[in-house]
Amino acid sequence: MRFGAGLWCLQATATTPRHHTTAYRQLLEDAVALETFGYEGMWLSEHHFFYDGYCPALLPAAAAALSVTTRLRVGTGMLLLPMQRPERVAALAADVAAASGGRLDVGVGLGYRDVEFDGKGVPRPDRVARQRAGLAALRDVAVPAGATIWNGSATPAGVARAGARGQGVMLSGANPLSLVRELAAAHRKGWESAGRPGGTPPPVAALRNVWLTEDAAERRAALDWQRASYVLYAGLGWSVAERDSTPAMDFLSDPSGAIADAVATTIIGPAPAIIDGLHEVAEAGVDYVIFRVVIEGAPQAALHHVLRRLADEVLPAMSTVEAKTP
């Protein structure tokens, strides 16, 4: 099993105010810490026009984090591809990939907020066609420069299309494991149905809420910071549609229920409990776990402490564990 951490969103929120420059300075410090602890990847996230300054330009931020590290990979989870011009975003990704010796993971998503499409002058109905054009440009320009493409999707059809292209998927941390299992299976099936492009199955990455602690007060704090982090999704209006495997999770119409459901996905406790939880994640078909431990505004020392403990006490036990083939 592979491990990274996320999502760096570079926000300054109403409940944890700070200077944005602090957020970007800590991004670079956190990149160095992740590399020192031995993680494979750091993942960033994008939105536009939001009051808290949620990072709107991931490739420059990734370029900076890559320039202060030598082994760490930096990924976009997700870069909202339809909102940029295909040729230019591909050239930008190619530059960042080449300058870092191929350490850029370009995760792409469609976007879902109408106000973002409106601000960029992109009709939302055009987003799939623009995504396709963007992916073609990335494949032609950024992949030869060393970038790796990932796809963000929460539907079986979407992840199957990624599988058919031989590309990895990155799944949301709010998804319950039942949905993760269904999506991992659909991704594998898409790859197989397309004639197994590339020869080896493309990876499934999943954000998971994880916190290692034996301390009751830290446990309460970590879960409450998770709650606070998902209040954001109510503001953004994010939702997961109802499926056979999973009830709907709608942060707009039922924020408290959706927030409680998302927090309930958290794997929290001492190291053996985390290891058990991660085995379940591997059994759902996940190759690469991205610890969703970055809760904007939380003390940096607490973040580094838990990342170091996870690296020391959990990752060695998981190093030979492989995802179950769906």
Binding site: H19, H48, G53, A57, A63, Q84, R88, D95, V96, K120
Partner: protein, 270 residues
């Protein structure tokens, strides 16, 4: 007059040398694809004090996206960004509109722009959308410096500094008059050149070092001879021609600069 460097290849090591040598700014290379935000981000992460002049090429992306990238790099650099807006292939009217939209995004105001090229918010998602837009984060600086370059730059009535490439193009009246020029590596020639730029009214001269220059050139030539030359009238050259002090003895620089107190108040090792 202050002196900075052009970075023809975006070389981070050269920028780090310029930063260490105290030059005022580095200028990103300028790429046809208009993707200098990536190199500017690397320069931001790998330097600490020097100003980063990022060339933002118009016409390659939606101005809102270009503005967002610049704001992010301004934060990555702790507020050290200068945006050099390059009008590239746009005519003066088109460039003026894109420039106005960029500056609206960096202002403290909500954005509402209606012009021949852009409408922000666009209205493509229907009438339920807000009539204004907040482009975030705002830059770290209260007023992001904007300079202009390119064929249409001189025809835009913005009051912003326009990069000079000839002495005649420099304005002695401008508060900020950036200029660009190439160095030859010949001390007398380059001394006369930078002095002439200062006399023409340039305030910030961004020089290109000769392609075959030694890595020490930034310290040993630009910072040692050219920066002092334009830093005061009648520079007493005896100071710059005096040999630099000896390298500090190996190991001595690792010694603590302040001896710990012996009072014991700072803990067991105090």
């Amino acid at each position: 007059m202050r002196i900075g460097l052009q970075l023809p290849t975006g070389d981070v090591e050269l920028a780090a040398r310029a930063d260490a040598a105290g030059l005022c700014a580095v200028l990103t290379p300028g790429t046809a694809a208009g993707i200098d935000s990536a190199v500017a981000a690397r320069l931001a992460a790998r330097t600490s004090d020097i100003r980063i002049v990022v060339r933002v090429r118009l016409g390659v992306e939606h101005p809102v996206t270009l503005a967002e990238e610049a704001a992010v790099v301004d934060h990555l650099s702790g507020g050290r960004l200068v945006v050099l807006v390059d009008t590239a292939d746009l005519d003066p009217a088109a460039a003026a509109e894109d420039l106005a939209l960029l500056r609206a995004c960096w202002s403290g105001r909500m954005v509402r722009h209606v012009g021949p090229r852009w409408r922000v918010p666009s209205g493509v998602m229907g009438s339920a959308m807000p009539a204004t837009l907040s482009v975030t984060p705002k830059p770290a600086q209260l007023d992001l410096p904007v300079w202009l370059d390119g064929a249409a730059a001189g025809a835009i009535d913005s009051g912003l500094p326009v990069v000079a490439r000839s002495f005649a193009a420099a304005s002695i009246a401008a508060q900020v008059q950036p200029a660009v020029d190439d160095l030859t590596g010949d001390l007398d020639t380059d001394r006369r050149r930078v002095t002439a730029w200062a006399e023409a009214g340039a305030t910030h001269l961004l020089v290109r070092v000769p392609d075959d220059a030694d890595p020490e050139f930034v310290h040993a030539f630009v910072a040692r001879y050219l920066v002092p030359e334009t830093a005061m009238p009648h520079l007493p050259r005896v100071m710059v021609e005096s040999p630099p002090p000896l390298p500090w003895p190996r190991g001595a620089s690792a010694a603590p600069t302040m001896a710990p107190t012996s009072s014991g108040e700072d803990g067991p090792h105090g």
